[in-house]
Every structure is written in C-alpha cells, then in structure tokens.
C-alpha cells in the first residue's frame, strides 16, 4: 500500500505512474465519515447560530419577497458542470471497481465539456459577476475565529452576517477550484495522449516523469473530488440548507433567510 504506484521507465528510472486505486474507497469512506461526524456535531455540539447584527424588521418588509442569488447563466454553468463532473467521476472510477464499459469516450467528452464550462465561468465571474464575492475576506476569517472561540465556550464577540456566500461556501469553492483546476489542467494535457478529433495525437510532449506526475495529480485530485462532491451533495440536501440549495434551481432565496444571514452591505448586487 501507498499513495503512488511507481514503475521503471525504459531508461531504468523509477517514475510514478498513477495513484493506487484503493484510494477510491478511502475517498468514499472519508466522505461518509464526514457525514457522520457532521451529523453528530450538529446534534450534540453545535450552538445556535448568532449574528452580531441584523436588519430591522421594517427594513426587511421593504425587501422583495425573493432575493436574487444566482443568475440564469450562473445556474446553467453549475448544472452543466455538475453533469460533466458526475460523468467524469463515474466514467473514471466505475471501471476501476469492476464495472466494464467503454469509459474513455465518456470521460474525455465530459472532460472537454467541463473545461469549456470552467473557462466560461472564469470569464463570467471575472467580468460579469462580483469576482470577490466568493473568496474569503478579512471579515470572514475574523468571524471564523470568533465562531471557533464561541464554540469552545470562550468569550468572543458574535460573528457578523455573511456577504453573498457563507464562509463554508467559500471554503468549498476554494477546494473545488484547486481540485478542479488540477484535474482539468492535467486532463487537458492527457487529451493529447489519446486519439480524439480535437488534436493530432502527441503523447511525447512530456517525459515519463512529467507524465507520471500528471497522472498522479489527476488521480489525487480525482479521488479528492469524490469526497468533495459527496460532501457537496450532502450539504445541498440537508434540510436547513435547502433554502439555499433551491436558489441553484430557481435563482432566489427568501428575504427572511437573506435578512437573517446576510449583510446587505457585504452582498454587492450584481448585474444579470
């Protein structure tokens, strides 16, 4: 056992070739452990959420009943990406656990869809959305510290309300960005190693070592994504989170939820 499988290259070098695939099971178990841990934490240890500030009820009544959270292009992107991601995960890992099918075509086509959708998202988010709204800022980090202290029973001021995205969302996005970029960038170069209508095949762009490291990173990020996606689905389906999850379908959240959790000053409205 180990993380990375090595082989001898034709030049007698030890090169990594890919991850050990039992890591698939490790990732699934990690995901499940997270669910259980989280449920236990919620049930026995979590304190009720408290915020330092609030919007006066009068102000809340003035808000529209539904607050726009995700624009249509953003929602479309999310679901295209979700479809591609699930296709990628299943086509990558089902064969490894014994389900036989012609996985490679599904995998590379879904990979291309994912890559294109990510490129779209980067452009869309950089120029048409409030780019910074998804990245943790100073207040988020301070508040995370406050929450931690309060959960330990120490004295600390109550955290402030979130901007557009709660801290967990931001952290999750960060993890997905890292894992997603790792798989898509390595996947993009791996596309040259197989026959597709896209490019002339050229499997010799990199040496054995570079290739091996690429496969390893692709694999590590890939199994990482198994756990991440499991956690994502878990949160999306949790009863208290459904209020947010629905906005990925309908685009909006309820004003009451908005007013309680989000600071209108930190949630910069964006153009459609």
């Amino acid at each position: 056992m180990g993380i990375i499988e090595f082989a001898k290259s034709p030049w007698g070098q030890d090169v990594p070739i890919h991850i050990f695939f039992y890591l698939i099971y490790v990732a699934v178990i990690a995901g499940l452990t997270f669910f259980i841990g989280h449920v236990i934490w919620l049930r026995y240890f979590a304190k009720k959420e408290e915020f330092a500030d609030s919007t006066p009820p009068g102000e809340v009544a003035k808000l529209p009943a539904e607050i726009k959270r995700h624009s249509l292009p953003a929602r479309l992107f999310h679901w295209v990406q979700a479809g591609a991601m699930l296709t990628l995960l299943f086509s990558a890992f089902l064969p490894k656990v014994g389900v036989r099918f012609e996985w490679l075509q599904w995998h590379w086509i879904a990979g291309v869809v994912l890559t294109v959708s990510i490129v779209f998202h980067i452009i869309h988010a950089s120029f048409f959305m409030n780019f910074w709204s998804i990245w943790p800022d100073k207040i988020d980090i301070e508040d995370a510290g406050r929450r931690w202290k309060r959960s330990q029973g120490e004295k600390a001021p109550a955290p402030r309300r979130f901007g557009k995205y709660p801290m967990e969302n931001k952290m999750y996005h960060l993890a997905i960005v890292l894992a997603g970029l790792s798989v898509t960038l390595t996947g993009f170069f791996m596309l040259f190693r197989i026959r597709t209508p896209l490019f002339t095949r050229n499997s010799y762009m990199f040496g054995d070592m570079t290739n091996g490291l690429m496969y390893t990173l692709h694999g590590l990020a890939g199994v990482g994504l198994i756990a991440l996606i499991m956690i994502h689905v878990y949160f999306a389906l949790r009863p208290e989170k459904l209020k947010i999850s629905r906005s990925m379908v309908y685009g909006t959240i309820k004003r009451e939820h908005y007013a309680e959790h989000h600071d209108p000053k930190r949630w910069v409205a964006e153009a459609e």
Binding site: A7, R100, R193, Y204
Partner: protein, 337 residues
Amino acid sequence: MAVIRDVMPAFELFQPATIDDALNLLDKHGSEAWVMAGGLDSFDWLKDRIKRPSVVVDLSQIKELTGVKEWNGGIEIGAMTTLTDVVRNPIVKEKFSILATGAESAASPQIRNQGTIGGNVSQDTRCWYYRSGWKCYRAGGNTCFADTPTAINREHAIMGASRCVAVNPSDSAPALIALDAKMVIRNKSGERVVDAENYFIGPALDIRRMTVLLPGDLLVAIRIPSTWAGAKFYFEKVRDRPVWDFPLVNIAAAMKVNGDNIESIRMAVNGVAAHPVRLTAVEASLVGKPRNAASADAAGQLAIQGAEPLRHNGYKVPLLRNLVKRAIRGVEEAKWA
C-alpha cells in the same frame, strides 16, 4: 531471445479433477490464481517472471473438459481439447473444416499437441513490450511503448486501438467467429454463454484483458451451431515463416452461395486489432451480390475503411484488403493492387 533463467519462481500448484473443484479453487484464490491449460502461453509469463501468480490451477486432469461431442446438430468442443485433436476430429474436418485449417496453422506440431483450443482463444497478446515486462497501459501503466516514434510496431494494430496498440494473435479465433461459435463460461455462481464475437474485447472496454473472462471464470466449452456446417470456407494466414510464427493478418470466411450470388456470409480477421474483428459492414455489403471481382474489390476497399496504421505496419492495410478479396474470389482471382 528468451533467456533461460533456472526454474520458475515457486507457486502453489493445484490439479483438480473436476470442473467444480477447479471453480472452487478459482473462487477461493481470486486474482491470485492463474488458470493453466496447455501452458504454452502461461510459461512465458511465469518463466520471464513478468506475471507472478501465487497459485496455479492446472486443468489438465479434468476429463470433462476434453473431447468433441455432437450438440444440437453442431458440435461442442471441450475447452481442454488440444488443437491437434480439433484438427483431427472427423466432424470438424467434415463440417467445419475452416476451424481445422485455422487451428492447424497455429504454432508448431508439438504446441498443437499440447496447446488447447480454450487456451488458444484466451491467450494474451504477443506485443513484445508488454511481454518483456514494460509497465505499459496493458500492464497497468500509462504509456503504450509500441506506439512511440521509435517503436518497433510492425506486428501491431491498424484499427480499433484505444491507447494500447497490441493485437490478438489467435488463429482459431477468426474461424470460430466465422462459424458463429458460442463460448460457454462457468464460474461459481453459474454459467453464461457468450458469442465468440463478443468473447474478445478491446482496450476501450478493458485495457488489461483480451477476453470477457474475469478472475474465477472458466471457459468450459465452445459450441459450434450447425448454421454454417458445410458452407464454403476460406481461411488464410499470412506470416513470416510457415511454423511458429503468429499471424501478421489472418482471415476466416464462411459463405453460402446461391448460383452465382452470395446468399449469406460471415467474415472475421485477426492480427489487426486487440480483438479479432468481424467485418460486419463487409458482410452486409456482400449479401445478394454476385461473387465476382467487382464485389470482391468493393469489399476489400470497405474492409480497410478507417484503418490507422502505425509507423511500421502500413503493409497490413493492403494485406487486409487483399485477404478480403481472396476470401471472396479465391486466390487465383484476386488481383494484387
């Protein structure tokens, strides 16, 4: 050239006397177990220390696995029947001579005396990068060493490659596909019957295996239905020397003619892809056509559609085309182009 390296590394040997005992052993030892029939493919792997199973299950003592018997107007050949016994069998000779010709063209007399039909269809590829122990795709790595700019790939695939460009080397396989044979596979949980055509798989489906067999599976018999008994047969194997050498390309065709017209035809080739290829498009294009030079030419052309030769195996493309022509018109009529 092979290196003589003292005896093979140790393994535990089982010689069960019944299929059930063999299946229990295979079930118990899972992927640790190596099935050995005649051993003529197996020994290379073991002697070269490329595959190191801890358990070998030798089928040689299982009487129920040998012999040819009649089945539904056709025949059922036990998986452990030697190629020589297949070749010499009177029913095979009389009704399904294409299988006798195919099996007889394999390897050498001594190998046919011991190599089994089950082993012949289940044998691994001869790609020498893979067989020398390079950690290629087929061995679980991420490179096909036969598909690099400096690779020696004269004997590799011209179609159907997905990352790996190795070919299936079996001489009996195309004959069995032409005869629409059925492969009877058994494991601990039961029996399944697979068309010969689907018994062989390519790298797109599973890059580590050549057949649908999984650990625990045993090929117990090959059934040949009466459908093509006594049809017009054509088998030809092209190879570098007339013994021992594996096919560069081989072809097997079974044809029924009505007067001058081709009524129905089945055709399969090997040595061009990781699995023997049934030429379904060619077959479809020939039904109802006169058996003449024009049909043969068109069929040959159709057969090589989409062929993608590698650096050193471009010759296989015209070879395949001409073998298809010959299969339809016979040797004399085929024009070399």
